[in-house]
């Protein structure tokens, strides 16, 4: 149930940024979600698809990047990745450790399509066709193809995060 709340807040923030900075079209939103966030990825993505309908983000994709649960041993101080919130320290075996990661929730990046030639068109919304994707909103890779490649424009938003 709370996936929808999280998505609504995300879409609201992104829409206000899209409006303010006049983003012509959003292609992809990368969201970092820690493994201890009780988020079901499929539900989150489904909620996003529903929530962006009739917004400035229509047609964009949400992708989730997971972050492992990390714990800091109170006995020896090392930080380790735990399978769950109870994993003991792999170095000294102490069962006591505090949470050091896994609750992340932030926008890693937003990929925005560069506007080409209809900057002053007032009714262009919704007319845009996805290049090379047959117009389907759920075509595989976005216009930039390789997800590791440099997108047209790479905008970093949201709060800063460690590492």
């Amino acid at each position: 149930m709370h996936e929808m709340s999280l998505v609504e807040a995300l879409v609201e923030s992104l829409e206000s940024m899209a409006e303010r900075d006049r983003w012509p079209r959003v292609d992809r939103v990368l969201l970092v979600v820690g493994d201890l966030r009780q988020v079901v990825p499929e539900v989150m993505i489904f909620c996003y698809e529903v929530a962006v309908e009739d917004t400035l983000l229509a047609g964009s994709r949400l992708e989730l990047i997971s972050r492992p649960i990390r714990r800091r041993c109170v006995a020896c101080g090392i930080v380790f990745e735990g399978e769950d919130a109870f994993s003991p320290c792999p170095a000294c075996g102490s069962p006591e450790a505090e949470l050091a990661g896994g609750m992340e929730l932030y926008v890693e990046s937003v990929e925005v399509e560069a506007d080409e030639d209809d900057a002053d068109s007032s009714d262009a919304a919704g007319d845009g066709e996805r290049r090379g994707s047959g117009g389907s909103g759920e075509a595989g890779p976005g216009p930039t193809g390789d997800p590791d490649g440099e997108p047209d424009r790479f905008t970093r938003v949201g709060e800063d995060h460690p590492s």
Partner: protein, 196 residues
């Protein structure tokens, strides 16, 4: 701001009823419930300011709801703000309300396995409160298991046991709240009201 999170019936409002008169600080309370004004009325009966948020089915409070509620309070001179979240051990753990501390409230009759079953809340809590200690002899509750699991999950959380009806254990908790306020005031500049 302290965000109280626990199951429905874990004794969150009763805890506040026991805490507020003994605290010696000026407090205000934001109450979250799906329906009814009852909890805010119970707090107001103590002469403490309180605003009720009804989530109309929502299973947790969100920051913008709390922000709206704060506009209805006179925060001038308030030392400590309590938010009593909607009774639920899952969703409220997800939503940052701007609090200084999340407090997990669990009662003896709920059973000793709650930290294990709801690790997200118990890992993040700055304090874990075990309420209804007077029922310990009436129900099956493994106290060692409960605190052992809390210790493994979150060794630095402060731990309290109390019986809100008799007031037993409330003073230690009030002391921790005063300490929290002192730490906060020590680390923040300006706009701080002197404690009484």
């Amino acid at each position: 701001m302290v965000n109280l999170i626990g199951s429905p019936g874990s004794g969150k409002t009763t805890l506040l009823e026991a805490t507020l008169p003994r605290l010696g600080l000026r407090a205000a309370v934001v109450e979250g419930d799906v329906a009814t004004e009852r909890d805010a009325e119970r707090i107001r009966a103590l002469g403490v300011q309180s605003v009720q948020i009804n989530t109309q089915g929502g299973c947790h409070l969100e920051a913008h709801l709390v922000e709206r509620a704060l506009a209805q309070l006179d925060l001038e001179g308030v030392d400590l703000l309590f938010v009593e979240n909607v009774g639920n051990l899952v969703c409220p753990a997800e939503f940052d309300l701007g609090e200084d501390c999340k407090v997990a409230v669990c009662s003896v009759p709920e059973g000793s396995d709650k930290p294990l079953k709801y690790p997200a809340l118990f890992s993040q809590a700055g304090a874990v409160l075990l309420t209804k200690m007077d029922l310990l002899s009436a129900v099956r509750f493994d106290r060692e298991l409960f605190w052992g699991d809390v210790g493994r999950l979150n060794p630095k959380a402060s731990r309290f046991e109390m019986d809100s009806l008799s007031g037993e254990g409330i003073e230690a908790w009030c002391g921790r709240l005063r300490g929290l306020l002192g730490e906060k005031r020590g680390s923040t500049r300006g706009n701080l009201v002197e404690g009484r």
